[in-house]
Structures are given as structure tokens and as C-alpha cells.
Symmetry: C2
Subunit: 153 residues, 2 copies
């Protein structure tokens, strides 16, 4: 595990907020030269502290702003069925997140679609078509209070 100093953490904070600034800009904020920053970034990339760089798209602009959190319970918890469920969920394009969780329900899924009709269609033809699903409970998102990809360091 790579050891990160204070400057690395600050740099990661800046990169998580905006990865398209110039090295010069980060250097300025950190009080370092561009080369020093450049080398730190390369080190963070090589050691997989930085997974990747991505564009975040505006869900409204692409008409995918209807968000649903769906709790799922399986019928049986035989390894084979569990793995099959997980494999199939990964393939569903509407599902952006899926977590196996403790508690009453087995999984919670985050689903991005255009509207209620699209959600209904997703449920009927895709999700509940997966074998071994016991019950589901859909929670519709009324408001996104907070939604960030940045981890506080």
C-alpha cells in the first residue's frame, strides 16, 4: 500500500473535484513545481490510487433523471444462484450501482431511467426476469440532496 503524504491527499482532493485543470494550476495550489506535481500524479496513477478519469454527464441533459433505489430479496442463498443474480445485474445498463447488504433485504440497486414508464418496463422485462428474485421494494428518489464521487481524505 502506497504511503500518501499531506500533499498527495490535497492533490487527490483537487483531482477529484476537477481533473482537467493544468498541472501548473495544481502546482500553484500546492506550492510545488509542475514537474513535482506531474511526478506525484504519475505515481498515484501507477499505484492505482487513482482508478481512472471520467466525464460526469448531466442526467437531465440525457433524459435519465428518474432515479429509483430498489431493494431486492432473493428466494434462496445458494452460492450458484447468488452469483448468477449478480452476474445478470451487472449486465443491466439501467443499474449503475448494486450492493449486497446486511439486513432485511439482500441487495440494493440504483436505477437510472427516463421516467416511470421506463422504470416499469425495466422491472417487468429485465429485473424480475432474473431467476431467484423473491421480492422487491422500490423507493423513488424525490430529491438528490447530495451526490458526489469525491471521497473525503
Amino acid at each position: 500500500m502506497l504511503k500518501l503524504d499531506e500533499l498527495d491527499l490535497k492533490l487527490l482532493g483537487l483531482l477529484q473535484a476537477d481533473s482537467k485543470k493544468t498541472t501548473k494550476e495544481y502546482a500553484h495550489r500546492l506550492g510545488l513545481s509542475t514537474t513535482a506535481v506531474y511526478e506525484r500524479i504519475k505515481r498515484l496513477e501507477k499505484n492505482n490510487v487513482i482508478d481512472k478519469y471520467v466525464a460526469l454527464v448531466n442526467k437531465k441533459a440525457v433524459n435519465k433523471s428518474f432515479l429509483v433505489l430498489c431493494h431486492v430479496k432473493l428466494v434462496q442463498h445458494i452460492k450458484e444462484f447468488v452469483l448468477q443474480f449478480e452476474r445478470q445485474v451487472q449486465q443491466l445498463e439501467e443499474v449503475t450501482e448494486c450492493f449486497h447488504i446486511s439486513g432485511d433485504y439482500d441487495y440494493i440497486l440504483k436505477i437510472n431511467v427516463s421516467d416511470m414508464e421506463a422504470y416499469r418496463d425495466f422491472m417487468v422485462t429485465k429485473l424480475t426476469a432474473i431467476a431467484n428474485i423473491g421480492s422487491t421494494q422500490s423507493s423513488f428518489v424525490i430529491n438528490e440532496v447530495k451526490n458526489t464521487t469525491a471521497i473525503s481524505l
Copy 2:
């Protein structure tokens, strides 16, 4: 609302997967010239189809891989209290997502911390310190089946 054609959607797909490729690379994949791609990207940025570019960090590498989904119920739903709760949650660095949802619980929060002890500390000193919280229910993430920032277009 900007109209997006097939090439825009493909380009957004590529940018959501990896925003650090060269324009030439995207051009090659789309069968366009670099200039055409460059102008499309600028258009997507200007029209806020692309919100921003960020680095995604590896949670394990920064010791924040203990993930909890916490359901929260408020005592009262008076506007003033609701807004206060939302404002305070936004300030909590451990909370990366917070959605106001339909159903039994009012909110669901995604919390990134280092371990159970840090979570306990978060609950005791931060979350339940917020006024007007009725009850909470924590679901610990056993496995991340899927977790992507890319919206399927």
C-alpha cells in the same frame, strides 16, 4: 435541451469510460476527424451535457472502503426541519450520497469510512447529532456488485 445524435451518445460513452484519451483516439473510434470530435466535446461541455471531469480514487488505497447505506426517518416533516437536515447532511464529509426517497424511510445515505469504528464514531458524533432524526437503520455493504458513474445512453 440540446439534441444529441448517435455520435454524441457514443462519444459520451467513451468519455464516461475514460476522459483522458486523446481527441485523436476518440476520432478514430467514431470515424471522425479530430476537429469534429473536438467541436462536439466543446459543445457538450458548453451545454452542460458534460458536468465535469473528475479523477476516481481507489477507496482501498485511501482506506475508505467500509461502505454503509443508512436509512433515516425524520420525526417531523416541517419544511424548516427538513431543509435543516438536508443542509447539515451535505456538510458531512463521510456522506457521498443522500437521497430523499418515497417509502417507509425518508432518506437513504451512502457513507464511506475506514472501518466499523469510524462508522460508529460518525453515527454517534455526527449523524445522530443532527436534530429531528427519528430513527436510523444501517445496512452494511458486504459486496459491491456494480458501481459505475457511467450512465447508459
